[in-house]
Symmetry: C2
Subunit: 259 residues, 2 copies
């Protein structure tokens, strides 16, 4: 199978090219995450072995509030978020649910490349575009490229640390602490990706989450989230208008969060 054929077969947007797909323009994370590395790999592969099959992900776009992947659904693809916000969550039969993490541009939906299925339910919050890579391609790359391997391991460590903090949140922190921390962590994460609205100050961010998302992530009820956020606003800690959020007093917010 030629490089051209494979790329065309696995990609549903004919205009994409391996080196710099059109859809990665808005993906602000392609500098730091996997995408860049994979594309780099693809380029060098194309240069070194012009005849070798190209590793390239197919791009998909999905509207807000849709499910991207069902729990325990088998998939031969590994997906990376290119644009928009999504959630990765667990659900109980009786309807209770727990959001494990918010997925932002550049995030791997599941960092375990060897598990073609997972308990998690993946849903879009906003419109989301994501990129599917063939699992087997990535595994091969993992074996061949030490650099890629290192990168995956460091992402793995990072995710684990986040998961640990979330556990501390749910087990031992009050609602105020949880929500304050969440705002700080998200702001920080977005700042790292250059996704803040302010050119300079890294404190105003697009904030598409509904309060029930925050509730499900922090193990609270939407009503209580509303009360805490109202209090934060009354205390001039944060400002929310429309779908954007600004941290007004980072110092005091940190104190509330006990960070």
């Amino acid at each position: 199978m030629s490089a051209h054929l494979l790329a065309a077969a696995s990609n549903d947007m004919g205009s994409d090219r391996a080196a710099a797909p059109a859809s990665c323009g808005p993906c602000l994370a392609n500098k730091l995450g996997f995408c860049a590395m994979i594309r780099g790999k693809v380029e060098s592969q194309a240069n070194d072995h012009p005849g070798a099959p190209l590793l390239i992900g197919s791009v998909h776009t999905i509207p807000a509030r849709r499910t991207i992947c069902q729990p325990n659904e088998w998939s031969e693809f590994v997906t990376i978020i290119c644009d928009g916000w999504a959630t990765s969550s667990l659900a109980l039969p009786d309807g209770r649910r727990q959001i494990v993490s918010f997925l932002l541009p550049g995030d791997l939906v599941s960092w375990n490349l060897f598990e073609p299925t997972s308990d998690r339910l993946i849903e879009s919050v906003t419109d989301v575009t994501y990129r599917n890579f063939r699992r087997s391609d990535l595994i091969r790359m993992l074996r061949e490229s030490p650099e890629f391997f290192e990168k995956l391991m460091s992402i793995c460590v990072q995710y684990t640390r986040r998961a640990d903090q979330r556990l501390l949140d749910l087990g031992r922190r009050t609602a105020d602490e949880r929500i304050a921390r969440m705002i700080l962590v998200l702001t920080n994460k977005l700042a790292k990706r250059g996704m803040c609205r302010d050119r300079m100050g890294q404190d105003r961010i697009d904030f598409p989450l509904r309060q029930h998302h925050i509730a499900d992530a922090m193990g609270l009820t939407p009503v209580h989230v509303s009360k805490v956020l109202s209090r934060f606003r009354r205390d001039q800690l944060i400002e929310i208008d429309g779908r954007s959020l600004k941290v007004l007093d980072q110092t005091r917010l940190r104190r509330v969060a006990t960070m």
Copy 2:
């Protein structure tokens, strides 16, 4: 450096031998976990390349209630629990703590081989004997042995699923559900390792945990744990005497746990 020298240098129990260390007799998990595989590897290595340096872990024993590893302490070793119970936990500056997992014989203290440091505080519950492997040895083995790699990945998946469930516990389950689930999960885990007291029934287990361990693992207070356990006992769901626990009515306990 000869194989003999290396083994002697990294092992503080002179009588141990690579193929079947004396201390692994009581370690009931060596059939299924890492230990077996590593020892297998060591044996075949010794046979194939008699001159190559032996990969062998040093064995240590530590009394109950001691800290095995401080948070963020750098270590060139990867440790596996051989015997006894330990905890892996996170602590807040103000004293609140969250136990992330209980470590049983056969468990890897940290499954991330590439991270020489972690936030976790590792403490012994009972007397614990563990085995330290040189991180660099394991990493080399990981690269060389696909079989070993697979094993680590499957352990990794398993730990992730457990972590997910713990998140659901803390975020969305009531105290009763959490404690019932914990009892069932632990009983099950011990049964898998053949660590039950009954020869047949897999329901009576050694249970060295104090109630404050349960509290710290489940995000509750010791007082409340006591109340819930008392109720479970009054309702004939479980029986506790001394340091052993027996599930009396698995069906009803499962119902309480919403499993």
